[in-house]
Symmetry: C2
Subunit: 485 residues, 2 copies
C-alpha cells in the first residue's frame, strides 16, 4: 500500500493482526556512504550554482565590474607577452618580469584615481627608499666589516618601525598609506642585498620595471572604458539626491494615506522608500572616493582641481537630512494613529511642504547632474519656506481644533461645561511629523547652501536658455504661490 | 618718526612741503631671494614640526600604534638576520630572502585577525595557484611548441579576469579578497617561467618562504602585546554604550536647564555631548572588525566561534538609537523656546525617563564589559516603561494646561469666552522631544533584545553573587517605583 505523507512516499504492509508495519528501505553500508556522498555533492553543486548565479547577476547589473576584470587580464597578458621570450629565472635579468607582473597585479584598481594613487605612491616610494638604501649602504660599507651589519640592521629596524607607525597618522594614511608600505619593502630588500655593485643595478632595475608596469596600468585603465573615482562620487551624490527626494515624498504620502489603502502598497515600493538608508551609510564611500578623486587628472566635466572636498560637505548635510527622514519614517510606522479629523486638518499643508521640499531636492539633483547653476532654486526654496509658514499657521489653529471637533459631539444641554479633548499622546506622532518636516526644510536649506558653494568653487555654468524655459514651465505647472512670496 | 600702523612698524620722514614720505627698506635681489628662501624654509620647518607634534600626540594617546610599528620593525629585522649571511642575488636561493621579507611587510597588520586573514589567504592562494599553474604548465608542455604559448596566455588571461571579477562578489570580498589577488599574482608568475624543472622548485620555494614569513608574523603579533580585532570590536561596542548613555543624559538635561545657566556649559562638555556621533559613523569599522575577528582563535574571554555577527546586529540597533538622539539634539538646539510653565509641567517626567533610559544603556554597557548576564536589566526596563507611561499621562493633561495657564490671566468679567492659547508652534520642539524620548525607549528595548540574544549565543555567565548585591544596592539607591510596576 502506498501512502503519501507530507510529500514523502512511504510503504506500509497490513499485517494480519490489524496493525500496519512501515517498510524501511534497507541499505548496505556501501550504499549508505554512496547516498551520503551524493547528497553532499548535490549540496556542493547547488552552492556552486548559486554562487555563479550571483556572480552572473552582479555582472549583468554592473558590467563595468566585468570590464575591469577583463582589463586586468589583458594587462597581465601583455606584460607576460613582453617577457615571454625571456624566462623568469635566468639570473638577474629574468626578475624583471616578476616585478612588472607584480606591479600590475597589485596596482591595477577598479577606478583610475585608485590606480594612479597606487602607481604614484609606488614609484615615489621605490625611488626614495632606493636612494636612501643606497646611501645607507655606502655609509655602512665605509665603516668597517663589523659596524656594517649593525648599521644596516639598526637602520632597517628604525625606518621600518617609523614608516609603519606613520601609516596611523591621518594625513599620511589618506594619501601615502600604500607608499609607506612600499618604502619599507624596498628599503628592507635593498638593505639585505649588501654588495654595492649589484645593488645600484638592482635598485635601478626595480624602479624601471615598476615604471613599466605602472605606465601600462595607467594606459590601459584610461584607454578602455575608464572608471573615474570623481565621476563615481559625482554620480553617487546625484543618486542620493534622487533617493532623498523619493523617500521624503513617499514617506509623508504613506502617512496621510487612507488606512484602507495602506496595506496595498507593494513590496517593491517599500524597498524604494528606504532609499534614504543608502545616504545614511554613504560616509565611508564618499570619503574614500573623494580621496582618490584628488589624484585624477582633468576628465570629462571635472577640472584637475575640482573641489572634491566640497562634495564631502554636501554629503554631510545630506546625511543630516537623512537622519531627519529616518525619524520621520519611525513616526509613520508608529502604532498610534492620529484622529482622522486632525490628520485631515494638517494633511494639505503637510503634503504641500513635502512636495516643495522634495522639489528642491530634485532640483539640487538636477543642478548636480547637469553641473549648471539652477535659475529657479531661489524661487523653489522661497516656496518651501512659504509652505513652512502656512503649515505653522495651520498648526497654530490646532489647539482650538483639538477641542471643538470633539466638543461638538457633546450634549449641548449639559450644565457643566466639559470639554472633551483628544488625548495628547494620540496626536504626538502627527505633531512630531510636522516638526520634523519643518526641521527638514531647514536642513534642506543647508544643503542648498552647500551646493551653492560647490557651484561657485567648481564654476558651474549658469543655466542655458533652453533649460531656463523648461524649468520655468515646470514652475508654472505647479500651482505655486510665487506672487504671495 | 616711528609710527605703528596695524601692528606694522613703519618709518616716515616729514618733507618740508608738509607731506610725509614712507621710507621703504631697500633690499638687493640677493637679499630678497635669501629672505624668500628663509621664510619658505621656516614655513617648511614649522610644518614638519607640526607633523612630528601630531605624530607624538598620536603615539602618546595610543601607545599600541607605536608598539605595532616596533613589532613590524622587529619582524623585518629578524627575517633579514635569518638571511644576512646569504646575500640576495646569488641565483635562485637568494630570492628566498626577498619573498620572506615581502611577506612580512605585506602581511603584518595591526590586528591579529587581519594578520591571520592575510596569512591564511596568502598561503592558501599561493598553494592553489601554484598547483594549478604547474598543472597548466604540464598540459601546455605536452601540446607541442606552438600551442604551449597559446594555452599559457589564454589561461593567464581567463584566470586573471575571473579572479579579479570575483573580488567584487560580496562573499568573496569579505573573506578572500586578498587571496584572489595573490592567486592571480602567483599564477601569472608561474606561467611566465615556463621551464618545468625549475618551475616545481620555484613553486615550492615560494610556498616555503611564504610559510616562513607568515609564521614569523603570526608568532610575533601574538607574542608581543597582541591586538585582537575581536577585543577591539567588543570594546568599541562597550564604549558606544557609554557614549549613547552620556549623550542622552546630557542632551535632555541641557534642554531643561535654566536659560541663564545655558551658556555656562563649557566646551569640553559640549564635545562629550556629541559622543553619539561616533555611534552614527561606526558601521564600516564594526563590519570590518567583525569580518577580521572571525579569523581569530579563542583568546581571552572569546571562544573561537564567538557570535561576532550578533555584534553587528547590536551595533545596528544602537545606531537606530543614535539617529533618534541626533534628532533629539536638533530639538534642543531649536530656536523656539517652549513656554516655561509647560516645560516645568513636563520636566520631571522627561528627566525621569531620560535617567531610566540612560541607566538601561549603562547597564547594557556593563553587561557587555563584564560579559555577565545582568540580574537587574528586566527591572530597569520595566522602570523605563513605567516612566514612559507616566510621561504619557503627564502629556495627556497638557491640553488643559495649555489653556488654563493662559486663561487665568484673562479678565474674568469678559462676556465672550475667549481662551487665549499658547501657539502650537511654540510647544512643537517640546512635544517632539517627548515623542522622541518615548520612541527612544522602544529603540532601547530593541537593543536590550539584541544584547540578550548575544548573551545567549556567547553564553554569558549569570551574574556573580557579589555583583548582584552591588547591583541591587544600586537599584535601591534610585528611588524606583518597582512596587508600582
Amino acid at each position: 500500500m502506498g501512502k503519501e505523507l507530507l510529500g514523502k512516499l512511504e510503504w506500509r504492509v497490513n499485517v494480519p493482526d490489524g496493525t500496519s508495519d512501515r517498510l524501511e528501505p534497507e541499505f548496505g553500508p556501501v550504499l549508505k556512504v554512496w547516498l551520503g556522498l551524493k547528497s553532499l555533492l548535490e549540496g556542493f553543486i547547488r552552492k556552486i550554482w548559486k554562487f555563479f548565479k550571483k556572480a552572473w547577476d552582479i555582472g549583468v547589473a554592473e558590467p563595468k565590474k566585468v570590464i575591469h576584470g577583463v582589463k586586468v587580464g589583458l594587462c597581465i597578458s601583455i606584460v607576460s607577452l613582453f617577457y615571454y621570450m625571456r624566462p623568469l629565472y635566468e639570473g638577474v635579468a629574468g626578475s624583471r618580469t616578476m616585478w612588472a607582473i607584480m606591479t600590475v597585479v597589485v596596482v591595477f584598481e577598479s577606478t583610475i584615481g585608485s590606480t594612479l594613487y597606487k602607481c604614484i605612491n609606488r614609484v615615489t616610494a621605490t625611488f626614495l627608499a632606493g636612494s636612501l638604501g643606497v646611501g645607507v649602504h655606502w655609509v655602512a660599507s665605509h665603516s668597517g666589516e663589523n659596524l656594517e651589519h649593525v648599521i644596516l640592521g639598526i637602520s632597517v629596524f628604525l625606518l621600518a618601525s617609523a614608516a609603519t607607525f606613520s601609516r596611523f597618522i591621518p594625513s599620511i594614511k589618506a594619501r601615502f598609506d600604500y607608499g609607506a608600505m612600499i618604502f619599507v619593502l624596498t628599503f628592507s630588500l635593498i638593505s639585505v642585498s649588501y654588495r654595492e655593485k649589484k645593488l645600484l643595478e638592482f635598485a635601478c632595475q626595480r624602479l624601471s620595471t615598476i615604471v613599466i608596469g605602472t605606465s601600462l596600468c595607467i594606459f590601459i585603465s584610461m584607454l578602455f572604458c575608464p572608471i573615474w573615482a570623481g565621476t563615481e562620487l559625482h554620480q553617487l551624490i546625484c543618486r542620493n539626491f534622487e533617493k532623498l527626494a523619493y523617500s521624503l515624498d513617499e514617506i509623508v504620502t504613506e502617512y496621510f494615506k487612507d488606512e484602507k489603502t495602506l496595506k496595498a502598497s507593494d513590496e517593491n515600493c517599500n524597498k524604494r522608500i528606504l532609499g534614504y538608508k543608502c545616504v545614511l551609510n554613504s560616509k565611508a564611500t564618499e570619503e574614500s572616493m573623494a580621496n582618490l578623486a584628488r589624484w585624477e587628472p582633468a576628465h570629462g566635466r571635472f577640472n584637475f582641481r575640482h573641489p572634491w572636498k566640497q562634495y564631502l560637505k554636501t554629503g554631510a548635510s545630506m546625511r543630516d537630512c537623512a537622519y531627519c527622514i529616518e525619524t520621520l519614517y519611525s513616526c509613520v510606522n508608529s502604532e498610534i494613529r492620529a484622529p482622522p479629523h486632525l490628520k485631515k486638518h494638517l494633511k494639505n499643508m503637510c503634503m504641500r511642504l513635502r512636495s516643495t521640499s522634495s522639489i528642491v531636492l530634485e532640483e539640487l539633483g538636477i543642478t548636480m547632474k547637469t553641473m549648471t547653476k539652477s535659475a529657479t532654486i531661489d524661487i523653489l526654496v522661497a516656496e518651501m519656506n512659504f509652505a513652512v509658514q502656512e503649515l505653522k499657521s495651520a498648526l497654530n489653529s490646532l489647539p482650538d481644533h483639538v477641542l471643538t471637533s470633539q466638543s461638538s459631539t457633546l450634549d449641548a444641554s449639559e450644565d457643566v461645561e466639559k470639554i472633551a479633548t483628544t488625548p495628547f499622546t494620540e496626536i504626538l506622532p502627527l505633531t512630531t511629523l510636522v516638526y520634523l518636516l519643518i526641521e527638514n526644510a531647514t536642513k534642506i536649506e543647508r544643503i542648498v547652501k552647500a551646493v551653492d558653494e560647490l557651484a561657485a568653487l567648481a564654476e558651474f555654468k549658469p543655466v542655458a536658455d533652453k533649460k531656463t524655459i523648461y524649468r520655468q514651465s515646470m514652475v508654472k505647472l505647479t500651482p505655486a504661490s510665487n506672487q504671495d512670496v
